[in-house]
Symmetry: C2
DNA sequence: CAGTATCCCAATCGATACTG
DNA sequence: CAGTATCGATTGGGATACTG
C-alpha cells in the first residue's frame, strides 16, 4: 500500500473503513472488552475479520491490547486516549449518516 | 449491494469512500466544474472512475449534474445545497486525518 | 466533449479448519 | 481463550479501445 495520502479524508476512511471497525469502536467506547466479549457482541463477524480489524485499529493507535499471561489466556481491548479523539469525528459522521439514511428512505424517487 | 446500514458511519464511508470522491468534492466546493475540468484537475483519475464516482455522488444527492444540449455537449457538475451539509463533516474528518498522518510520521516505532 | 464497454489485476471479506 | 492458515467469492479500480 502506498502511504502517500494526499487527502486526509482517506486517512480517516482507512482507519474506520473496514466492515466492522465502527462497530468495534462503539463497543469499546463504553468499556474495555475481552476478545470473546466482542465476538458475542458482534455475532456476524468472523474471527478472521475481528482479529484483523483489532490489529489494524491497534496499529493506528486507536485501541490498546493488553495480554494477561494466564492459562487460559486473557486479552483485553480498550480505546486509547488517542482513540477517544476519534470519537467526536465518528459521532459527527454518524449524525450525517443517519440523516442521509432517512432522506434516502423518504425520496426513493427523484 | 445490501442497503441495510446498521451503522451510519458506514453510510458516510459509502458516500465518501471511493478513491477520488473526496478530491472531487473538494474541487466542487469552490465552484461548478465541467467534466473536462475535473479530468485536468485530477490527472490520475481514469475516465471510468471519474464517471462512476460522479454518478455515485449524484445518486446520493451530493452533487448536481447539468447537461447543456449543445454540440459538442457540455456537462457541469456542482455541489448541491444538500451536498454542502457534508462539507463540515468532511472538514472534521480532514482535520483528524491530518493530525493522524503527522502523528504516524513522528512515531514510526511505538 | 463527455462519456461506454471490456478485460484484468488487486484488495476485501467470508467460511472452514486448525493451534499455543 | 484467543487466535492463525488457507481457499474461494466478491468488489474496487486501472488500462485500453471505442462512440453519440
Amino acid at each position: 500500500m502506498i502511504h502517500q495520502r494526499e487527502c486526509p479524508i482517506e486517512t480517516v476512511i482507512h482507519v474506520l473503513g473496514g466492515k466492522w471497525k465502527p462497530t468495534i469502536l462503539w463497543n469499546l467506547v463504553e468499556s474495555t472488552k475481552r476478545y470473546s466479549d466482542l465476538e458475542k457482541l458482534i455475532p456476524d463477524v468472523s474471527q478472521k475479520m475481528l482479529t484483523q480489524h483489532l490489529r489494524d485499529l491497534e496499529h493506528e493507535g486507536v485501541i490498546q491490547r493488553t495480554v494477561y499471561p494466564t492459562v487460559p489466556p486473557k486479552v483485553e481491548y480498550s480505546l486509547s486516549e488517542y482513540g477517544r479523539t476519534l470519537v467526536p469525528v465518528a459521532e459527527m459522521m454518524c449524525a450525517w449518516g443517519e440523516k442521509h439514511n432517512e432522506r434516502k428512505q423518504k425520496e426513493p424517487a427523484s
